[in-house]
């Protein structure tokens, strides 16, 4: 698991980031926390994308993860970071597993839009339900770690980095298994996969569930980082679009890509908003067009090009 270049790089990068974070100003720590939280959802979407599937509704699972944290906090007073994270993963994973029975039968635009439809149902329910915070959402208390209340955000930053590292290593390993290698095979030719004796539906179901668990973790960590959840910034279709945007920006080439792509997105959005508060979307849109026209393999393909390496399948 740890003996390939990607795994070694991830371990080294996590160490450098954790140490560097101790000396970094707050705004940088925040950027990394938001970026790495979102990167978990991108990691899941990357697995789906490699299979030839794009979901325009993963804000559903992102939102479920975030709201699991908010409800645990507001109704039960649970503040432990690991319990909150686990709740986000379990709620999103169970929902993803159940909805996966439907999703595994659909492809292309139907798969993408069915996910959007489901996420909009949740959005509608949350917006109209007072006990779920309605449009205002919930404020979330600061997370505790095994009963201790840290004074700064640094411990949460380290935990998010380590969760990101663990998820990246796990997905990196998964992509080397028979199940994982089927991602590209299914995208290329489902008929052959079935005639080789493997169930395409089962493989897609597993990949979908993995992606929903990761999106749930992402939502939970984002909620804890922001200290606030509301339907507009957690469940709305624009959040799903944002996740797809960052997936394309990152590229599907390597499990490191979602983390780089997410950080680039955070920095880009922050500066775009600072430079042009009334037209920041214009800058984001222009960036998106540039990526599609000139870097269809995302930022990762540029890194590979600069490094003179072939695309990793």
């Amino acid at each position: 698991m740890f003996n390939d270049r990607t795994a070694k790089f991830l371990l080294l990068a996590a160490l450098v980031i954790c140490v560097g974070g101790a000396f970094a100003p707050n705004w940088i720590v925040n950027q990394f926390m938001f970026g790495f939280s979102r990167a978990l959802a991108i990691l899941g979407l990357m697995v789906l994308w490699r299979t030839g599937l794009v979901s325009f509704g993963h804000a559903f699972y992102f939102g479920l993860g975030a709201y699991a944290v908010a409800i645990l906090d507001s109704k039960l007073g649970v503040s432990d970071v690991f319990l909150r994270l686990m709740a986000g993963a379990v709620v999103a994973g169970v929902a993803g597993f159940l909805i996966g029975f439907i999703m595994r039968n659909y492809r292309d635009i139907f798969f993408a839009m069915l996910n959007t439809a489901i996420s909009m149902v949740l959005f509608g329910i949350v917006v109209k339900t007072e006990s779920l915070g309605s449009t205002d959402g919930f404020a979330i208390s600061a997370s505790t770690i095994f009963g201790l209340s840290p004074e700064t955000k640094y411990p949460l930053f380290v935990i998010i980095t380590l969760v990101g590292l663990t998820a990246a290593l796990a997905v990196n390993f998964y992509l080397k298994t028979t199940f994982g290698k089927l991602t590209t095979a299914i995208r290329d030719n489902e008929i052959r996969v079935e005639y080789l004796g493997f169930s395409v539906a089962h493989a897609i179901h597993l990949k979908y569930t993995i992606s929903t668990i990761l999106a749930g973790c992402a939502g939970a960590l984002m909620a804890m980082s922001l200290g606030q959840v509301d339907p507009e910034s957690m469940i709305n279709w624009t959040v799903s679009g944002e996740l797809v945007f960052v997936t394309i920006l990152s590229g599907p080439g390597n499990v490191i890509a979602p983390f780089i792509g997410s950080l680039v997105f955070e920095v880009l959005r922050t500066y775009a908003f600072e430079l042009a508060p009334q037209a920041w979307q214009l800058i984001m849109g222009a960036t998106f067009l540039t990526i599609i026209f000139f870097l269809p393999g995302g930022i990762w393909s540029l890194i590979e090009k600069l490094g003179g390496k072939k695309n990793e399948k």
Binding site: T178, K181, T184, A185, D188, N189, G197, F198
Partner: protein, 257 residues
């Protein structure tokens, strides 16, 4: 041709699509180790028969038994697990991957079923099996080439090699030489049939080229309008009046004479 060593028994097979009858009254027994050629004009029911045996199409009526077990009602995967594989008229491979990656996936699926599929795919054991398959199907020179860049003949070889790695007892080949040049077709079939003979696989293949049929098969099933009109050794089949009229075409036969 009922035989005590039959591994495939097809009885009263019927397939209709609305008012169109694609296959009817198909009764055939295939023995272990036989090489059977399936001939017929376009639309005669050859591929329909192959599709029914491999679970792609469900028969309207009838029975298909493999080693005594009923196949009708089973899906393609379960039929593959039972020991029947197939290749396709248009090769079904993973076009964005290399030849080695295609075969590794086929080998991994054949060897890592169930929870084993969550283990690493690239193991030394599978690597040595890969080398063996590459050698046997003479795919070594192209092993690192991306499939989309390969010639049709190589893709066909790969398609067949992928179908065989699960060690099936019966292999159905749908027009293996279609799209392959006249100069290459015998070399191609020599590689394929040589490899399959080593494994002792029973082979049924759909073919339009009568030279290939005469050279490689021990028995011919001739289809016409969804029915088997001849079931006999190739020399007898090609001399049969019905086969000449409905399958080969009289003109072709006269030319050969």
């Amino acid at each position: 041709m009922k035989n005590s060593s039959s591994i495939l028994e097809v009885r009263n097979l019927l397939k209709t699509f609305g008012a169109v009858v694609a296959a009817k009254d198909i009764n055939v027994d295939i023995s272990q180790g036989e090489i059977v050629g399936i001939i017929g004009a376009n639309g005669a029911g050859k591929t329909c028969f192959v599709n029914m045996v491999t679970g792609y199409l469900a028969p309207t009526e009838g029975s298909i038994k493999f080693e005594g077990a009923e196949l009708v009602g089973l899906g393609t995967r379960k039929i593959t697990h039972a020991g029947i594989s197939r290749s396709f008229q248009v090769s079904q491979v993973f076009h964005s991957m290399t030849v080695s990656e295609n075969l590794m996936i086929a080998l991994a699926i054949a060897n890592n079923r169930g929870a084993d599929a969550l283990g690493l795919m690239d193991t030394p054991d599978l690597r040595s099996k890969l080398d063996e398959v590459l050698k046997r199907y003479r795919l070594e020179p192209q092993k690192d080439a991306t499939v989309s860049a390969l010639a049709q003949g190589v893709r066909k070889l790969l398609d067949i090699a992928m179908a065989v790695v699960s060690k099936p007892r019966i292999l159905l080949l749908d027009e293996p030489t279609s799209g392959i040049s006249v100069e290459e077709k015998f070399d191609f079939m020599d590689i394929v049939m040589g490899a399959l003979k080593e494994d002792g696989v029973t082979v049924l293949f759909v073919e339009h080229d009568m030279e290939i049929v005469e050279r490689y098969v021990s028995r011919v099933l001739a289809f016409y309008q969804g029915e088997i009109i001849a079931d006999m050794p190739p020399k007898d089949a090609l001399a049969d009046k019905k086969v000449q009229e409905f399958v080969i075409g009289k003109e072709h036969h006269k030319k050969k004479k």
